[in-house]
Amino acid sequence: MSELENIPWNLILPILVLQMILMVVALVDVIRHQRTNGPFIMWIFIILLGNLVGSILYFIFGRRQD
């Protein structure tokens, strides 16, 4: 447990929160939009497992613009 207490949470937490917001925005968009390049279930997994990179990949390549 002391390992966990040594982590400077007040510095790390904002990143986690920001990444969480980005992930939620991406997920909301996938579920509402549902028109993706490739199956949208796949994109949900990419966003959930890929963290920051997954969300960026979804917005750039996964989202169909038309």
Partner: protein, 260 residues
């Protein structure tokens, strides 16, 4: 001017609905926060996951707050510019393909309003995102390193912003001229590859838009020839104006290519 306001609103709403207004600032802020943190904790990160041999000793460079700003700019120069290119490459060419343009071009609207409304909204998004990223980074730099003088930071950001406006103008002008794929290719060539070429053999000339990112850190050190700096700024502004005029002309000329 009312048609211009309508077009501005249309652009803003489009970027809101395609979520670009949310995710681009978020990504830049996340990069801005990660950069000072990873640099600060680099020795510890390497100790726990770096797979160093037993007893290996390294002297890590002592970073100053100013160095973190510069290394974050390096990050934005590669990943940031790539994200901006990929996000906005279809701004005009995509509209011609997906039918939005058909709805627009049948109305009496001036193409300079059309192009400039896009130019203003996209520049607002890109500059806003980068500035927010640097401000987030600034906050962390204050905590982890030393406080950097505000005047220097704003001089640095100002120079870098001019380069960003240039980058956005290049993307938009080519988007007005050729297809989305071609825009991506040429923008990557002009904005990323040229930047590397300029870094490699750029000692032979001192005035170019690509030099702006090299001159920006001089706001912290003050070691650059002032005339070279201002000539580069002037050249970049001139190129931006030329590219805007070119983009307006091309969006008018290519209006016939719209798919109905």
């Amino acid at each position: 001017m009312s048609s211009f306001n309508v077009l501005l609103k249309k652009e803003w709403r489009e970027n809101l609905r395609t979520y670009k207004l949310y995710w681009i600032p978020l990504v830049f802020i996340i990069f801005g926060v990660i950069e000072p943190l990873t640099n600060y904790y680099l020795p510890e990160i390497m100790k726990s996951i770096g797979n160093l041999p037993e007893g290996a000793e390294f002297t890590w460079p002592q970073f100053q707050g100013e160095d973190i700003f510069v290394s974050l700019m390096g990050q934005y120069q590669m990943i940031g510019i790539l994200i901006v290119i990929l996000a906005f490459m279809g701004t005009i060419s995509g509209e011609r393909k997906n039918g939005t343009a058909t709805l627009l071009y049948v109305r009496p609207m001036s193409f300079s309003h059309y192009f400039l409304s896009k130019w203003i909204v996209i520049n607002t998004i890109v500059l806003g995102s980068v500035w927010l990223g640097f401000f987030a980074s600034w906050y962390y730099i204050r905590i982890l390193y030393n406080s950097v003088a505000a005047g220097e930071v704003f001089a640095f950001l100002g120079t870098y912003s001019l380069w960003l406006v240039f980058a956005v103008t290049v993307i938009l002008a080519f988007s007005a001229w050729i297809s989305t794929g071609g825009t991506a290719g040429i923008s990557i060539l002009l904005l990323l590859v040229f930047q590397i070429i300029d870094g490699l053999i750029g000692t032979y000339w001192t005035v170019s838009p690509w030099k702006l990112s090299a001159y920006a850190p001089s706001a912290f050190t003050g070691s650059v020839d002032q005339s070279d700096y201002w000539l580069s700024v002037g050249l970049t502004v001139a190129l931006i104006i030329l590219l805007v005029l070119f983009g307006i002309r091309m969006s008018k000329q290519n209006a016939a290519k719209t798919l109905v």
